[in-house]
């Protein structure tokens, strides 16, 4: 039952991602291209998503536990460090180059487009690259 619920959740998220235009790189580029062919649509995606989530989370948190148990697991880290800022900055550069982000590309796999497969394979390579470099992080921190 828990897995069917998770599948349904993914379906809702994916349909939203498709309808909203988030999975269309042309729209992503145009959202950022204020000096060119600007299309502000994606501001409405973020607005709609955050309003629903902000209210919905607060309603859900009135419960003692999630439907399938296990407690609410939210990160309580509030450290602003170079990894957070640098990683986010690097993520934005990649988003601006390819026009896909992971949350839009995973549902986009269902369109069967090879560009999406290539993008997600490259994201996986990026995950491995980050793992590979993590042993040198203490050195970077010392510098």
């Amino acid at each position: 039952m828990k897995l069917i619920f998770a599948l349904f959740t993914g379906l809702v998220f994916g349909v939203g991602s498709a309808i909203s235009g988030m999975m269309n790189p042309a729209k992503v580029f145009n959202f950022f291209d204020i000096a060119g062919t600007w299309d502000p649509s994606l501001a409405f995606v973020m607005g709609g998503a955050v309003v629903v989530t902000f209210i919905g989370y607060r309603l859900v948190w009135r419960r003692n536990a999630p439907l399938f148990g296990g407690g609410f697991q939210t990160p309580n880290n509030s450290t602003i460090d170079a990894r957070l800022v640098g990683g986010s900055a690097i993520f934005g550069i990649g988003w601006g180059i390819a026009g896909f982000c992971p949350g839009a590309a995973i549902p986009a796999l269902g369109t069967g487009r090879w560009e999406v497969v290539l993008f997600l394979a490259a994201v996986t390579a990026g995950f491995y690259a980050r793992r590979f470099l993590s042993p040198i992080q203490p050195i970077l921190k010392a510098v």
């Binding site: 994916g14 062919t37 609410f72």
Partner: protein, 143 residues
């Protein structure tokens, strides 16, 4: 390449993205972060978290098919960049999102809704670098 301004579809799609995030919190008590879900499947280190993530990804991948069944059309997806940029962008996205512990869904939708300090720093950072990247590529290098 121009795209149509779609405020209603984007707002509605965004609301569904938010609903997906709220449902995951309601059912399983987890943050909906595509980077975390995807890297959790790639590295498969936490067995107890693997199955719900896999089920969610299946649901996400089914979503374009569901849209096709209902509307008779696949969601619009046009990729105005070449293969090399998709590949490079993907690696950069994977590396950055993993280093910064989140992307558009985890920091953007869920983090902002939780008023997480880290996400409030991360989101403007990646929005700014994405916009600068698109500006440089389109208007400085003229690609």
């Amino acid at each position: 390449m121009e795209t149509l301004f779609t405020p209603f579809a984007s707002l509605g799609g965004g609301a569904l993205i938010g609903l997906g995030a709220v449902l995951l919190m309601l059912g399983l008590g987890r943050i909906l972060g595509a980077t975390g879900i995807m890297s959790g499947l790639v590295f498969a280190e936490n067995k107890s978290e693997f199955s719900w993530r896999a089920a969610m990804v299946v649901g996400m991948i089914l979503s374009p098919g569901l849209i096709f069944l209902v509307t008779g059309q696949m969601p619009e997806l046009s990729v105005p960049v070449n293969t090399l940029m998709i590949a490079i962008g993907g690696v950069v996205v994977g590396f950055g999102a993993s280093l910064g512990s989140g992307c558009t869904s985890g920091h953007g939708v869920c983090g902002l809704s939780r008023l997480s300090v880290r996400s409030i720093v991360a989101v403007p950072t990646f929005m700014a670098t994405a916009a600068i990247t698109v500006y440089l590529i389109r208007h400085v290098f003229g690609a």
